[in-house]
């Protein structure tokens, strides 16, 4: 090594003016403590979220209670005594102008449902049940409900069996996440819906609910239909969790909102979700706008992505701004965005004032990277 290079190294080593080592140590020590705390809080949150993870926009598995109990052998009428089937949202497209149009669309999309010959004949409404409508064609009765785009969506169905007697048949996997159950009946066990709602609320509020009561919709006559579950938490707030069975895989949380009269899934207040600024070559961040209820001091935003469920704490300032940009968690620009989102609002004494949620497919549309 030449003396010049050695001298350069020495000069480099003396760059700048040394600070106070005590001050550097104090700052680093505080920084380390803060990070340790964040890590601990993160670990606790992870455990809680894992408990409720199945419920949060996903599914809970409980084969024992999610089946429909066959306690009432007497069929009520044609349409209620046959085999029921559940319908996943992917099987139909909401937004059809009438229940009959939704049913026709459903039949067109799923012509080969095992065991069910879905006729494409004229569809007729067979009476209003609650907020939904039953639509009948031939020996199939489909149940339509208002969708989130103000149109109609098929949510359940049943095949008439002529004399109304239930037929025994093995479970048939239709390959779309849906199963056909044998000998379904009008009475459904709602305890697993309560369990799922309770686990979900406990996971995001960090406290056990005081009271959990399932409130089946009138439309349950067509099988294990969607169910509202009223959950009362410690602070006195009542939360309404809207659940629906999904095949034989469990109950799924569809919406969370305030307790009130029965309302369609889209009735719950949802955050105003918009895409954030586009960064070339990167996924667009998701900006969530929300209107916090009065008395809110802090809030926690939970959001699920393909890489797990994450949370963001909002202080009073962030709550007042009514907007939060979710930290990006995707490891690649191609991964989908936020799946479900829930905001827990708390008062200054830590009580839960309200929970609001939004389900499904936020920020999935990506702007492709521009080529230079």
């Amino acid at each position: 090594m030449t003396p010049a290079i050695k001298e350069t190294l020495r000069v480099a080593a003396e760059r700048g003016t040394p600070g106070d080592p005590n001050e550097v140590f104090r700052r680093a020590s505080r920084q380390a403590q803060r990070r340790r705390r964040v890590l601990q809080v993160g670990a606790v949150a992870l455990v809680l979220v894992a408990v409720g993870g199945a419920a949060f926009g996903l599914q809970a598995r409980d084969g024992r209670t999610q089946r429909v109990a066959a306690s009432s052998p007497e069929p009520q009428s044609c349409g209620w005594g046959g085999r029921a089937f559940s319908v996943s949202p992917a099987m139909g497209v909401e937004g059809k102008s009438t229940p009959a149009a939704a049913a026709a669309d459903f039949a067109r999309r799923n012509p080969s449902m095992a065991g069910f010959a879905l006729p494409l004949g004229p569809w007729s409404s067979v009476g209003e049940a609650g907020i939904g409508k039953d639509v009948r064609s031939g020996d199939v009765v489909l149940h339509a409900e208002p969708g989130s785009n103000t149109g109609w969506l098929i949510t359940a169905g049943r095949q008439c069996t002529g004399n109304g007697l239930a037929q025994e048949r093995p479970d048939v996997d239709l390959g779309t996440g849906m199963n056909v159950w044998p000998a379904d009946n009008i009475d459904s066990d709602r305890s697993s819906a309560e369990a799922v709602a309770s686990a979900f609320v406990a996971a995001i509020t960090n406290e056990s609910p005081l009271e959990v009561v399932a409130r089946p919709m009138p439309t349950t006559a067509v099988g294990p239909g969607p169910t509202y579950v009223d959950v009362r938490v410690r602070g006195g707030a009542s939360i309404e969790v809207f659940t629906a069975p999904e095949g034989d895989t469990g109950w799924r949380i569809l919406q969370v909102g305030k307790t009130g009269p029965s309302q369609p899934p889209n009735g719950a207040i949802t955050p105003d979700v918009v895409s954030g600024p586009v960064v070339v070559g990167s996924p667009s961040p998701i900006r969530v706008k929300f209107g916090a209820p009065s008395g809110t001091s802090t809030a926690t935003v939970f959001y699920s992505t393909q890489e797990g469920t994450f949370s963001v704490e909002l202080d009073a300032g962030a709550v007042a701004s009514g907007e939060v940009v979710l930290p990006r968690t995707e490891s690649s620009a191609n991964s989908t965005g936020v799946g479900s989102l829930a905001i827990v609002y708390r008062s200054s004494d830590g009580f839960v004032i309200d929970i609001r949620a939004h389900a499904g497919g936020l920020g999935e549309q990506r702007t492709p990277p521009r080529t230079p």
């Binding site: 080593a13 700048g16 080592p21 550097v24 680093a28 020590s29 920084q31 380390a32 890590l39």
Partner: protein
């Protein structure tokens, strides 16, 4: 403080100047060496006390080399992006040109050169800090020196 930190502050005070000199050599020119020392110390204290380490100095130096490598990658990306967008990079290298040439070398190479040539360490010990084998450390040092000589030679002509 001493009781709460189990003597870590005393250990750090003893090592501080040496660690700072090392940080000045391996850290990016845009960063204050104290910041690098502080970050390395914070990351170490998050997991363990300095008193529990066999050789706290070497441990902190290794952390600093890794942090500097990460920063170099991030800065490299930013510089490339700015160059592509034809924006004048706000990062201005200061100091004598031979110092600038030295700071253009990867942090691992700078670490090995400094520890061996200035601090008088063996290649084997320097390799531990740089996170590579002794042979790799020798090769890197040799390549770094060659590069420096070329650059300095070019400037001289």
């Amino acid at each position: 403080m001493q009781q709460r930190d189990g003597g870590d502050d005393r250990i750090f005070r003893e090592l501080y100047l040496r660690l700072r000199r090392f940080a000045s050599v391996v850290g990016p020119v845009e960063e204050d060496p104290d910041d690098l020392v502080q970050e390395a110390l914070a990351r170490t204290l998050r997991k363990r006390r300095l008193g529990d380490l066999d050789n706290p100095e070497r441990y902190l130096q290794t952390v600093m080399v890794r942090l500097a490598s990460n920063q170099r990658r991030a800065l490299g990306y930013r510089r490339r992006l700015l160059r592509r967008l034809e924006v004048q990079a706000p990062i201005q290298e200061s100091g004598p040109s031979d110092l600038a040439d030295l700071l253009r070398l990867p942090p691992e190479v700078r670490a090995v050169l400094y520890l061996v040539e200035v601090e008088g360490w063996t290649f084997s010990a320097a390799a531990e800090v740089a996170g590579c084998s002794e042979e790799a450390a020798r090769a890197r040092a040799s390549r770094g020196l060659r590069q420096l000589r070329v650059q300095l030679g070019e400037e001289a002509t």
